[in-house]
């Protein structure tokens, strides 16, 4: 019984059936999914000022994700099966190669390429899961001089907000100059622990928290829209990316060697 279950989950045919299923599923998502976010990351939007703590709010893209991953016999079960298939396949291959001594031959370690790639996909799935359930993000619109609390310890003050333009008049960059403040024990007191410029593509990291230049508002006084994100899935995804790249390089190197 166990042996036949193991054979079923480590089967290449199951992998192929699941890949075909995932292709079909992604085609459905591609045609009818949430997609269509704003094409410009920084389109002007109405200021949604809040001086309360960032966090807890769910953005539009998250709402979309919930509608996809929320309804989900069609997704969760096949993805779990896919993860199991990936894991069992990798274990099965590793065991076979250890028994055959393949890894211990000259440059045998290149054979770990597919295993690393499969492991990285498992890490992406784990990262996506952690991200889906643990991600907290929030956006706030600040005018220069205003302060917002990030959590019980840290606050940020927007010192200045500039919009740079090309000669043609097109926007070149949005620059928020911030100060990071730490609350001290005394009431009304806080110390500046860092200063930074946040621009699009150049977020500011404060531990596991990241702050992005997200939007701006020209309604009334110029205001900068900053987004704070805490995503527990990031470490797993970063590890997945590293394994993925190493695994792909090993596979390619192995193919080149066998081809040569």
């Amino acid at each position: 019984m166990l042996r036949s279950l193991y054979a079923f989950f480590s089967s290449m045919k199951l992998a192929i059936v699941l890949i075909v299923y995932l292709i079909g599923l992604m085609v459905v998502v591609g045609i009818w999914g949430p997609g269509a976010l704003s094409p410009d990351a920084l389109s002007p939007r109405a200021a949604e000022f809040s001086s309360s703590e960032l966090g807890g709010s769910v953005s539009g893209s998250d709402a979309g994700r919930i509608s996809i991953f929320g309804s989900l016999i069609l997704v969760v079960f096949p993805v779990m099966l896919f993860a199991l298939n990936l894991g069992v396949c990798a274990v099965s291959r590793i065991v076979k190669r250890i028994k055959a001594g393949s890894y211990f031959r000259r440059v045998g370690w290149l054979l770990t390429g597919p295993d690393l790639v499969h492991l990285s996909i498992l890490l992406f799935l784990l990262g996506g899961l952690l991200s889906h359930y643990g991600r907290v993000d929030g956006e706030v619109s600040l005018q220069p001089g205003e302060v917002v609390a990030l959590n019980s310890v840290y606050m940020i003050r927007l010192e200045d907000f500039q919009i740079e333009y090309y000669e043609s008049g097109q926007t070149k960059q949005y620059i928020s100059s911030i100060q990071v403040l730490r609350r001290s024990s005394e009431e009304q007191q806080s110390e500046i622990i860092d200063q930074a410029d946040i621009t699009v593509n150049n977020p500011y990291s404060l531990g596991r928290l990241k702050i992005y230049q997200r939007s701006f508002s020209t309604t009334g006084e110029l205001a900068s829209g900053l987004q704070a994100v805490y995503d527990p899935g990031y470490p797993a995804i970063m590890a997945g990316i590293v394994f993925f790249l190493i695994g792909l390089c090993f596979i390619l190197a192995h193919k080149i060697r066998t081809h040569a």
Partner: protein, 269 residues
């Protein structure tokens, strides 16, 4: 001007190849090699010149993407043409490579025809803030390098499907497999990995189910299917060749179709 010259070269290449496909007398392919290289280099020069004017790598609109893609395919066709005999004896059937080079040239012709059409503006537009990232540059360049290999895989898969001679099919299958393998590596790193990193830096999320992301995933899964199908005895052959053809259709849909049918974060390219 540079891209237009490359387009004219591609037209000459295409006509020349059609004539030589049907010619019964002795044929030399040395001129084609030079033209592939020249066309590719002219497009690279166009990319370089636009990048110089923009003070940023010119990879941020559809016209520039078409130019880069066409340059990558032409340079790959040049490399492939160097690997095959540059002469064909009188009365001999054309080698599979001849057809692959021809199909590749037709794809380049279509890409450059589209780039030259009024549908695609070629204005020099400096990048909006979200596009000012070296991750984006690597994302675009590696994606198109990978897709250039998919063009070769598509052409050789067609040769496989339409050829009846076993030796020709064997050669075509080998080229398809090699092209998909290298293309898959470049596409995965460029389109998915670097794309994810750029998305996180720009929008605070590795994945947003943007239509282009989703269709790139469909394309990637299709080539993943191709590579896994090759492990199944009996699935190799027409089925894998068909998957390579579908993969290329999806590649082109992800690149161009999504832009016109759906909106999203990738509306620039």
């Amino acid at each position: 001007m540079l891209a237009t010259t490359a387009f004219v070269i591609t037209v000459i290449l295409m006509v020349d190849q059609i004539i030589k496909l049907f010619r019964k007398s002795e044929v030399s392919y040395e001129v084609e090699q030079v033209l592939f290289l020249l066309g590719g280099l002219l497009l690279l020069l166009d990319f370089g010149y636009r990048s110089y004017l923009l003070r940023f790598p010119a990879v941020t609109n559809t016209y520039e993407a078409l130019v880069i893609f066409a340059a990558a395919v032409l340079l790959l066709l040049y490399l492939l043409s160097r690997k095959v005999p540059s002469h064909r004896e009188a009365g001999q059937q054309p080698e599979p490579h001849t057809y692959i080079l021809f199909v590749g040239t037709v794809v380049v012709f279509l890409l450059l025809a589209l780039a030259s059409s009024p549908l695609i503006p070629d204005d020099l537009v400096p990048p909006v803030p979200a596009l000012q990232s070296h991750w984006l540059v690597m994302h675009v360049l590696l994606s198109f390098a990978g897709e250039a290999f998919f063009v070769i895989a598509f052409a050789s898969a067609l040769v496989f499907l339409f050829s009846s001679q076993e030796e020709k099919r064997r050669q075509a299958d080998r080229i398809t497999y090699l092209s998909v393998t290298v293309g898959y590596f470049l596409f995965t790193v460029g389109a998915l990995v670097f794309g994810m990193i750029w998305a996180e830096q720009a929008w605070g999320s590795y994945w947003s189910w943007d239509p282009k992301e989703t269709w790139a995933l469909v394309t990637w899964l299709t080539y993943t299917l191709y590579l896994h199908l090759r492990f199944i005895r009996g699935a190799r052959g027409n089925l894998t060749a068909l998957v390579a053809v579908i993969g290329f259709i999806l590649t082109m849909f992800t690149f161009l179709g999504v832009n016109y049918l759906m909106s999203g974060l990738h509306s620039y390219v």
